[in-house]
């Protein structure tokens, strides 16, 4: 019999997860919400610039179709089009909802929502709350979830980490196996469906703009259990980040949306203080190369341009891999009203005031367009497992436009939640009727992994293996890709996996052991990084964020298709299939930003 009162597990408490929770609770379902960190501390807080919706409040004639077209074009036509169209049509309503929930969006003098420009569009389409939009959106959803929690509809399991799905003998998902990050207890939890909303994979690249929890471990675990992982090779490198020892801090695209200009001194090795360099001796290369979009070209385009200026023209500031992002021509009051949050980050972590001194920035790994394969209902290929947000691949094709991630997270959650409920109600057999053996077996499998790791006695430090992985992936699998290094990367990862077998944990205790938890994640990172490296090696073309100088053109004849990786357990490595892209609404055309579309 189907579940009358479905119990759904949501894994991940960022925007996508919380959006799903709210929809499930509203539909009468009960939710168990799992998160590594208290949900209010999820990575969505880091989103800065804003959220896109074609509200057309600036008299520009913007439409949801235009938003749809910009998104598909920006993604270099690698996205299945119908779900993107649905998202863009829903976006204005999502903004209204967030507004009703109390998000302190910036306002026009008349009290209406203000909008700014972002990359890859010529319209003012981005609603924003200062430069901490993600934080404000996450809080609004967090507050609504807290309300359901107070009503007893939602139970939070914070400081729990997802380890795997529990699959029954028909390979249908019946719950999850998770680990308490304090007691280290491994436990299974039954559910009629699960929604994965576990975010990005930045840690695979060592340093990125992502938060510490964004390891991709959960996605990788599911991939190793039989979920398809799609378009893994598409990695967004954000053009403007602040290099740091512990991470690359994001400097939002909104800095350029509000008029920020990117430049380098025209003379190699110019040691002058930047403000003393006259206009005529500055090279505003984005404005020169892309007169129509200027500093607001999409991220992949801006990132490659900066690389070119630094590595081919050798014009990085002071010979270093850095360029200027300049806001000093904009008045302080405007900057404080619209960008305070990000200026504060620069000030605190670098020590200079960006209102007075041009910022020094460089591209940094930021986002994965690839992720768990899902259909138009956010369902993965394993029955009962749904996915939403950055952990799935559905909305951004070969490159994501700025301010589209927040809308895709919320929209994805809004679709996945009700679909998970529908799946639970439509199942012939509810999870209550499933024998406990599937749960016992999965728990045993995970506990064995734990005891193997704790008793492993080699001489390898997991953090050092991680550093090597990060350096390797950043060097060979980001902005510019060549086949030979990509293949060497995969071989090197195999070596790292071998070294992983000889790991020695300095801490063998079973209480809040963070290095043990990290080491578990590391194994999954290594497995998933092979999907990225091999996928990139295979795709002999250039499309969006995937750029190969040896194959500089987009090749629709051979490569207008989705990469689908699946794990072959017998050989312990990925295998690949390809699937045509649904281009039923907008025929592909060349993607150019040096002229209007």
């Amino acid at each position: 019999m189907a579940a009358t009162n479905p119990r759904i597990i949501v894994v991940g408490g960022g925007l996508a997860g919380l959006a799903a929770v709210i929809k499930i609770a509203e539909a009468g379902g009960n939710v168990d919400l799992f998160s590594i960190v208290p949900v209010k501390r999820s990575h969505s807080v880091c989103a800065q610039g804003g959220i896109n919706a074609a509200k057309n409040l600036k008299g520009e004639g913007d439409t949801t179709w235009q938003h749809f077209d910009d998104t598909v074009y920006g993604g270099d036509f690698l996205t299945n089009q119908p779900p993107v169209k649905a998202m863009c049509e829903a976006a204005p309503g999502i903004i209204d909802l967030l507004d009703r929930m109390g998000v302190p969006f910036n306002r026009t003098p008349e009290g209406l929502l203000d909008f700014r420009r972002f990359g890859g569009t010529l319209y003012h389409r981005t609603a924003f709350a200062g430069a901490t939009t993600g934080q404000q959106l996450l809080y609004a959803l967090d507050e609504q979830v807290r309300r359901y929690e107070a009503e007893g509809r939602v139970t939070k399991y914070e400081h729990w980490e997802f380890l795997s799905a529990v699959l029954d003998s028909n390979h249908v998902c019946r719950g999850i196996c998770a680990m308490n990050l304090r007691t280290m207890e491994v436990r299974t939890f039954p559910a009629d469906a699960i929604v994965m909303a576990t975010g990005g994979i930045g840690a695979i690249f060592g340093k990125s703009t992502n938060s510490v929890v964004c390891t991709g471990s959960a996605q990788s675990a599911l991939y190793q259990q039989g979920c398809y992982y799609a378009n893994g090779e598409f990695i967004q490198v954000h053009p403007t980040s602040i290099p740091g020892e512990d991470k690359l801090r994001l400097m939002s695209e909104s800095a350029r949306g509000e008029g920020g200009r990117v430049w380098v001194p025209k003379t190699k090795g110019d040691k002058r203080e930047p403000r003393s360099i006259p206009e005529s001796e500055r090279w505003y290369f984005l404005e020169e190369w892309y007169p129509k979009y200027g500093n607001l070209v999409p991220r992949d385009v801006a990132t490659r341009a900066i690389h070119k200026v630094v590595y081919e023209h050798e014009l990085g500031i002071d010979g270093q891999p850095m360029v200027y992002l300049d806001l000093t021509h904009i008045d302080r009051a405007t900057l404080d009203r619209k960008l305070e949050g990000i200026l504060e980050i620069y000030e605190k972590f670098v020590g200079d005031d960006p209102r007075e001194v041009p910022m020094k920035i460089f591209p940094g790994m930021h986002y994965t367009m690839g992720g768990l394969w899902v259909d138009y209902k956010q369902a993965t290929n394993i029955k009962g497992i749904f996915a939403a947000g950055e952990c799935e691949y559905g909305y951004h094709g070969a490159n994501r436009l700025g301010a589209n991630s927040l809308v895709s997270c919320i929209w994805g959650g809004f679709v996945a939640g009700p679909q998970a409920v529908a799946h639970a109600k439509g199942s012939a057999k509810s999870t209550d009727g499933v024998s406990s053996s599937a749960f016992d077996a999965e728990k045993k499998r995970q506990e064995e992994i734990n005891s193997r790791l704790i008793s492993s006695s080699g001489n390898e430090n997991p953090f050092r293996i991680w550093r090597e992985l990060g350096e390797l992936m950043t060097k060979n699998c980001t902005v510019i890709r060549y086949n030979k290094p990509l293949k060497e990367t995969d071989a090197k990862i195999v070596e790292l996996l071998d070294r992983f077998n000889r790991i020695n944990l300095s801490d063998k205790s079973m209480w809040a052991n963070t290095s043990f938890v990290f080491t578990r994640q590391l194994y999954n990172m290594l497995q998933l990084s092979r999907v990225i490296a091999q996928g990139a090696a295979m795709r002999d073309e250039s499309r969006g964020a995937h750029y190969k100088p040896d194959f500089p053109e987009r090749d629709d004849k051979n490569w207008l298709k989705t990469t689908k990786a699946y794990f072959a357990p017998d050989v312990d490595e990925p295998r690949f299939e390809f699937e045509p892209v649904d281009i039923s609404l907008i025929p592909p055309r060349p993607r150019r930003y040096d002229m209007a579309k």
Partner: protein, 248 residues
């Protein structure tokens, strides 16, 4: 010899264990902060006197001072470890867990009390539902500019750690929660629950426990006008209490 950095870190294996100090000497790097220093220790967990030890347990996530995870005492001050730049700190850098929250392990403490408080004061806007009901209420820039700073609270609990009144004797709710009451009571729809929120702040552990030491506003990493929020809310609570009394 290369320039080095010395950190003294207070360790505690579990909530029942005694604490102890460990000292680490690390190679200085430009832009180093307390978190990046602890990442170095994880990659090479050896104390200054050469004894092998374990990686340090601490909470962290965004490392941009916006998630609120990595709050701890650094040279005695409640602050976020990610934005604690080593170059700006006196050495040896003394790193300890918050003193007013139960220690989980090392620098990680249990701060769930704040989230429970937010439930008690109904810190949300009671929307009818998530279906499309058209735009929200009009909000003028001046109103947005009042709300936005308070809504940037990252729930780090620095204000509570630094507050002399936040202790087991008073059961004081703390500045962060009071500021959220102020935020939601100002919102055109959030106002609907104003009465309940103010009532939640009356009595023992409520707003009256505030001793105006002003430590909260001093340590807040987001410069939230906490003392103003407390005095504004305090007036509202008194008004509400009088109303309740006469209606009584």
């Amino acid at each position: 010899m290369a320039k080095t950095v010395i950190l003294r870190i207070k360790r505690q294996e579990n909530p029942q264990a005694n604490s102890r100090w460990e000292e680490f000497e690390l190679t200085w790097k430009p832009g180093m902060n307390v978190i990046s220093a602890m990442m170095e220790i994880a990659a090479n967990p050896v104390t200054r006197d050469g004894r092998p030890t374990t990686a340090i347990t601490y909470d962290s996530n965004c490392l941009e001072e916006v998630c609120g995870s990595c709050a701890m005492l650094i040279n005695g001050r409640a602050r976020m470890a990610c934005s604690a730049l080593v170059d700006k700190l006196d050495q040896p850098v003394r790193v300890e867990p918050f003193s007013k929250f139960p220690v989980i392990r090392d620098l990680s403490v249990d701060r769930s009390v704040l989230f429970e408080n937010l439930k008690r004061v109904k810190a949300w806007v009671p929307v009818d539902g998530t279906y499309d009901l058209g735009p929200g209420p009009r909000v003028y820039p001046t109103e947005q500019e009042q709300a936005y700073p308070i809504s940037r609270c990252i729930s780090c609990c620095c204000c509570m750690e630094a507050c002399p009144q936040f202790n087991e004797n008073t059961g004081f709710v703390g500045a962060a929660t009071i500021a959220q009451v102020r935020l939601f009571n100002q919102h055109p729809t959030g106002k609907a629950l104003k009465h309940e929120r103010l009532q939640a702040l009356m009595g023992d552990g409520g707003i009256q426990e505030c001793g105006f030491a002003q430590n909260c506003v001093e340590v807040c990493p987001k410069d939230i006008p906490l003392t103003k929020a407390i005095s504004d809310t305090g007036r509202e609570v008194v008004k509400q209490a009088l109303k309740d009394f006469f209606r009584g």
